[in-house]
Symmetry: C2
Subunit: 572 residues, 2 copies
């Protein structure tokens, strides 16, 4: 007998009473959860299951590696399939008795698994590409989500009321709209490659991040407003709320990133210890996410911008070893979290309790799933194509336009629904993890079906579809013209110093006598870019560090800034 | 309102019912713990507290960095002091009502915080130094712990029975012996520097690791045997148990390490992804620890040897980036875990419930603490000096002897009692996190006092004591002769290929006509060393990879092995 195991037997009852105390809750958040009616066997089972889960994660990595060359598979789908298989085996081995194989926990998801994924996305995102398409991304993420939400909710009300699926209220239908308009950023990261399709990646992933702020507002609205008789002032209130959320969340993330940069630059940790630098970066990033949760902001937006700022300033202030370490440790944490989520969703999908509710009406459940999937397809189509057209209107250069094929891919790549949708569905349609209402059970099983189907089928088809619509050679050359493909672009600063290919395009554009509308809409973006660059060089970098400032490399920022003046002069 | 926060309100009841299911327990281990009588406010408080805790960790790093130049302070003590101060502030701000500021959780400690610390110690340990002193380390860790346990238990029985401290049984006294003979490896890592005092470090830290296996056996014995009438067969059973535990735990760790090396070498992950390599290493290491827990083995021994094997084989099979990343990520995780533990212990120390029990008899509590501290001092002295003498007898070379000053330091540096002692004390003397018995309450508060006093006072004095007894110049030159001090020694393989300074010492020793006893005792160690090296070069490295094998560097292992034959021939 190992002492730790002896503890298990004795500690289980303690835990319960610990929790009731105020501060106990805090550690509760970090602590092991215990079965209330704990026995030796169940604690032992917990250790067995934990071993099994870690071993499965290892298996996912190895199998994912072996399947890497496959043009259909990716690691998410591998994890999902392994999760499903394991779930099936356990279900069979317990004779269908052990139904709750793996219970989906929103808290595990939102507190531990999501932050590293989104932070890493911000840390590794090609900042230039992201900020160049910033307005399009916000358009897609905010307006697009509202359109999608409206269509799905409206469609659900019209169709489900006729189908008699159970006692669903207006709030449930609106929640359905919010659940199924939440694009899953995690899936997107898996199926799209930043280096191969940078424009698509930044648009679809960026949309997913902004989408979060929108869904917060919509969810809040569904909970607190009577949407059947909304007044114009309510609408303004909602829009104001969105902007408040967007600005404060972004500000918090930027602030946390800058603070970490300043502390590391000021104290010059690098002289002493790489571990301290890495620790500070990890802890500050996590703190920014938790602070956002504390202030009821969008943690996803916050940690995303924290990642961007950290890669622009903090990352350049640390030692070379810390740079390599942070780059890979964030990617690794994100990688493990992603696998964890997909394995988890795959196992949870076989939860027999919910399926037993819909056993008597499998046709209805299938029908609901198909209708929801159809609504998702239509809802997304209804904003991708019109908004892409709108976005193209503002671009002066035809090469910057979102082509028809790219629009189809944006539509397709954002169709996947993942853990976010499941978390929202559990929140809306279950109480105490169980559902007694027939209608609610159908909604849960339909959500699982949609998530599995969209992730696996749409996910499987995305890679071949990208190759079909954007053949590598054409695609690569096309993308290469607007963004240099190199691993070094990781360290490209936020709208950085180097000569921008877009500026050359701008010169060409101005030579072609652009229409006045285009000039009007594109100039502010260039102006902002220019002033930001100036501000960054003269104030931000000297204070917070950044490329070329720690350690100081004698560069010629002034000379390079002059280059960037040219398109301004040409087009202005 | 943020959607995540909405979930908090709804999910809390779900969690409870989730747990009762078999598999729910599994995720329970990873999940957020929830207050049973949850309200909005308490969930919000949990987020507040989590923020506060992460912020405090950041503060510890910054303040620890600022105090680094101090000859007294170290990061553990800083974290402990910050924890105490924060605890005091919260206690005052809640008017003494919120007594359970931070509840010590054995599971959090043994499942999440301890594994990264011990794994990192194995990963970064100077393998040559460790294996050279292997017999001494096992002697200290096994025989020493039994001696210390006996003396503390015996002393406690004799003294406390006269003091009338409450209803303590024989089992309680024996448990006290086990609790206070558990050397805290974490504190040792903080106060001793591997580069400055490699011999001390490897002896004291190695002892701490072996100590774990011993304490498992002792704890088990206290629980299952009637020690008042122990038979010789029981004693043999215990000794056999210890060897079984030692061999299987080590084997499991070595096996897990070799498996990771083989998988990475075979599949050649490096070609594709650094993230996969790092993930596999992290997950396999953790899996080895959890497997040990599963089989009731010593997880600490397992994960320590897994770290050693991984640094000898796996680490050489991965890409250069992965090497830098893993080296620093393990160190960082260990660093954060250590800070976490000390901050946590500092905060928990102010738990008012236990102190209120001893309010009426502060003198008695202080007396018990002093006696326990005295017994710890005496118990350790009783095995360090005799066993050092015994160890010196087996060394043929006077330069390898443990000097008197070093013996004092070994005695002193192992006196600290930390989180392990607290975990054991909570296990023995509380039920459901509370204690109703006066005697038990005194034991808990005394343990806290001993832990705080030994960590802070002994910890503060250790650094200056090392400088006093082993002045840097003398110390450095002394140590340099037996072990080259360089950051590269990190990559020195297990009893590696390079010309061993000890071998030269061996030649000198044989020239001085060593006594036959010395030859008898030292030869096997050299023989083992030689055969191991041969086996490693001819079989292990070609199969599992390792320095010089992936990628292949044309070295001359045969030529170097010949060098190592010389002392064998000379002395044999």
């Amino acid at each position: 007998m190992q002492h730790t195991c002896i503890y298990y037997l004795l500690v289980s009852d303690e835990i319960q009473s610990f929790c009731v105390k105020g501060w106990g809750v805090d550690l509760g958040l970090l602590m092991v959860k215990m079965n209330h009616t704990t026995l030796d066997t169940s604690e032992y089972a917990a250790v067995v299951n934990m071993n099994l889960f870690v071993a499965l994660l290892c298996a996912c990595i190895v199998i994912g590696h072996l399947l890497e060359e496959s043009r259909w598979m990716n690691e998410s789908i591998t994890a999902l399939v392994i999760g499903l298989c394991t779930g099936a085996i356990i279900l069979l081995s317990t004779g269908g008795r052990n139904s709750h194989l793996f219970v989906f926990s929103e808290d595990l998801f939102f507190i531990y698994l999501l932050p590293p994924i989104i932070f890493n996305a911000g840390f590794q995102v090609k900042k230039k590409q992201f900020f160049r398409n910033f307005m399009t991304i916000v358009l897609f993420g905010a307006v697009g989500t509202v359109i999608s939400f409206t269509i799905i909710s409206y469609g659900a009300i019209k169709i489900f009321n006729r189908m008699n699926v159970g006692s669903l209220e207006l709030g449930d239908f609106l929640a359905l709209g919010a659940i199924f308009s939440a694009t899953d950023s995690v899936c997107t990261l898996q199926v799209l490659n930043q280096d191969e399709t940078p424009l698509l990646y930044s648009l679809v992933f960026g949309e997913g991040v902004v989408n979060d702020a929108t869904s917060v507002v919509i969810f809040n609205a569904v909970q607190h407003f009577d949407l059947s008789r909304i007044t114009p002032s309510d609408a303004f209130h909602l829009i104001g709320n969105f902007f408040y959320l967007f600005v404060t969340s972004t500000g918090l993330g930027v602030g946390a990133g800058l603070l970490s940069a300043y502390v590391i630059k000021r104290l010059y940790f690098g002289r002493h210890s790489t571990d301290r630098e890495v620790s500070i970066m990890i802890l500050m990033a996590y703190l920014s996410y938790m602070l956002a949760e504390l202030f009821y902001l969008s943690g996803i937006l916050t940690v995303f911008f924290c990642g961007i700022v950290m890669s622009h300033y903090t990352w350049h202030n640390v030692t070379e070893k810390s740079r390599v370490t942070t780059k890979h440790v964030f990617a690794t944490l994100s990688f493990i979290s992603e696998l964890f989520i997909f394995l988890y969703v795959g196992m949870d999908a076989l939860d027999i309790e919910k399926w037993s509710f819909v056993q008597d009406s499998p046709g209805k459940s299938l029908g609901v799933s198909s209708i929801l999937l159809g609504l998702v397809l239509v809802g997304r189509a209804c904003f991708v194509f019109p908004l892409s057209y709108l976005s193209n209107l503002t671009k002066k250069n035809a090469r910057e336009h979102i082509t028809c094929r790219q629009q189809v891919l944006i539509w397709w790549a954002g169709l996947m629904r993942g853990a976010v949708s499941m978390a929202l569905a559990y929140n809306q349609f279950t109480r105490s993890g169980h559902t007694q209402l027939h209608g609610n059970a159908i909604m849960i099983t339909s959500t699982i079906t949609v998530v599995l189907f969209s992730t696996m089928v749409f996910g499987l088809i995305t890679k071949p579809l990208v190759r079909l619509l954007l053949p590598p050679s054409k695609n690569m050359s096309r993308m290469a013209s607007s963004e240099p493909i190199s691993p070094k672009s990781f360290s490209v600063p936020l709208l950085g110093n180097e000569r921008d290919p877009e500026d050359e395009a701008g010169q060409n554009g101005s030579a072609l006598h652009p229409s006045s509308l285009r000039v009007l809409l594109s100039t502010p973006s260039h102006k902002i870019h220019y002033y930001w660059r100036k501000f960054d060089d003269s104030f931000m970098r000297p204070v917070f560090g950044g490329r070329g400032f720690v350690p100081y490399i004698p560069g010629t920022p002034t000379e390079q800034s002059v280059h960037n003046l040219i398109p301004e002069e040409g087009s202005g």
